[in-house]
Amino acid sequence: MSDQIPTTTSAINLGASVTADAAAVQVRGVNKQFQTATGIVHALENIDLTVQAGEFVSLIGPSGCGKSTLMRLIADLDDPTSGELTVFGKTATQARLDQDYGIAFQQAGLLPWRSVAANVALPLELHGVGSATRRTRVAELLDMVGLTEFADRFPDQLSGGMQQRVAIARSLAEQPRLLLMDEPFGALDEMTREKMQTDLVRIAADTGAAVVFVTHSIPEAVFLSDRVVVMSPRPGRISQIVPMRLDAADGREERDDDLREASSFFEMVTEVREALHGGADHSTGDGVATARGVDTR
């Protein structure tokens, strides 16, 4: 792993032009504490993580392990209490202002008064993209997520899965080099979920974007990722990083539904599950207690 990319210098002098080999995300010794009524909560403790350009990394762990918090720090929606965090060699704030990432949340978060097409166009509109370019780009994106004939519908006329696809199209609108996704399929039924996972693998491979994907589903993390970051709660820590060695791993675009039945897939699921359950104690039978909230579907 090439963790030693000189980001400190590039953070100072580089604006939009960043060296091509800069890591998508670099997190160094990051801590995050929340002040609550009952005292200080250590949401994240001493996090080190590097996500290479084009790499698909999942953050997995039980509820309260800080995986969503870590994603929010990368997105600059919250500030770390201490530590260093760079996105493409810039500060997280600069990366946000430069629109270096696209983001999708657990809730689709579509604006209900805008049509599907207008929702996808929102980031383009906010950043002053001309209306002709906007139209062609929106048409491309809706085609990509298979919602072309729903362009003029409104969010409340769509199913939850369709709304989520609109949100993903929206996150891809500006062809970001980094996609941040916080349990985007969490509210979907199993069939829609598998379909969306297959779509996401294809989209990520097509666009070559790095992805930071928060999930609590082990099979989901295994199916999608190059590496799975296993986290443990209270305080939120990275307990293990599991590289995915799947037969199709040399080309992520080759991952399809067959992989879900492959033995290498199950081996990886087992490995991640053991990493999750073994984080605190090594009891094999009753490890569930340490991994509450983790979905083993």
Partner: protein, 283 residues
């Protein structure tokens, strides 16, 4: 399924439909009824009213008959129209100014905690003061020949519900939408135009609809307390004072029509603007 069972099933379905018909009505009949029922009820009330006055012998100063009210309405039509126009203009000006001040004030209060805390007692005071009680004061402030006092009263009366509703609307933005806007690095102007205002829109329009009736009522009642003559309120007062009860009622009918016009116009505006805003919202 055999033919015989299917026909018997059909017969049951047919009977079921027939039974429902005899109990309720077809959607078409129901729609007609929804219009016809209130109209016929109103007509029946008018007929009873007329009979009560002519046959029952209720004296004219207690309750003029519908026919005499209509006669006065026709006879004084030009005056009714000009009075309605005058009071209507006062109400409309008041409503527009009150709406603008209410929306801008709410936007400031939503943005700044200090403005919010400063404005809260003022708005509370405005909400409880009987606005028309200010009429004599404003009439003497701006002169007896000025319509300004009445317009100001209509504006103050409209301001309160619009301010309160709009402020509430400005606070309805969802955390996921605010996160999204932050992720898009939007400036505060874009935030207002793309998120805050559209979110608040149904609340603002409800405020305007509530305020529309208040504007008419207060502009009209303010005329009872002096100032230039010629509006509906002053004509109701003078007609009643000169024992022309039928005429007074004719102006009352015009006032009701004016109030309804304002209400329906704002309701139509609300429907028009919110036509495309779904009720369910998005997940």
């Amino acid at each position: 399924m055999s033919a015989s069972t299917s026909t018997s099933a059909n017969a049951i379905v047919g009977r079921g439909v027939g039974a429902r018909r005899s109990k309720g009505w077809s959607p078409r009949t129901e729609a007609t009824l929804r219009i016809v029922a209130p109209i016929s009820f109103g007509l029946i009330v008018l007929v009873i009213w007329q009979l009560l006055v002519t046959v029952g012998g209720v004296s004219d100063y207690l309750l003029p008959s519908p026919i005499s009210i209509v006669t006065e309405l026709v006879e004084f039509w030009p005056s009714v129209v000009s009075a309605t126009a005058l009071t209507g203009t006062n109400s409309l000006l008041g409503l527009v100014v009150g709406s603008l001040v209410g929306i801008v004030g709410a936007a400031l209060a939503a943005r700044s905690r200090i403005v919010d805390q400063m404005s809260a007692p003022i708005v509370a005071a405005l909400a409880v003061v009987p606005i028309v009680a200010l009429a004599p004061v404003l009439n003497s402030m701006f002169g007896a020949d000025s319509q300004f006092g009445r317009q100001a009263i209509a504006a103050i009366a409209s301001f309160v519900p619009i301010f309160i509703n709009t402020l509430r609307g400005f606070r309805q933005t969802k955390p996921v939408h605010r996160d999204l806007m932050k992720a898009y690095a939007t400036n505060s102007g874009q935030m207002l135009m793309k998120l805050t205002l559209p979110t608040a829109r149904p609340f603002i329009l409800t405020g305007i609809r509530i305020a529309s009736s208040l504007a008419v009522i207060s502009a009209l009642v303010a005329e009872y307390f002096g100032g230039p003559r010629g509006g509906l309120g002053s004509l109701i007062a003078t007609s009643a004072a000169s024992s022309a009860y039928g005429r007074a009622w004719a102006y009352v009918v015009a006032s009701i029509a004016l109030g309804l016009l304002f209400y329906l116009a704002t309701l139509a505006l609300e429907r028009l603007v919110l036509r495309r805003v779904p009720t369910g919202g998005s997940r």
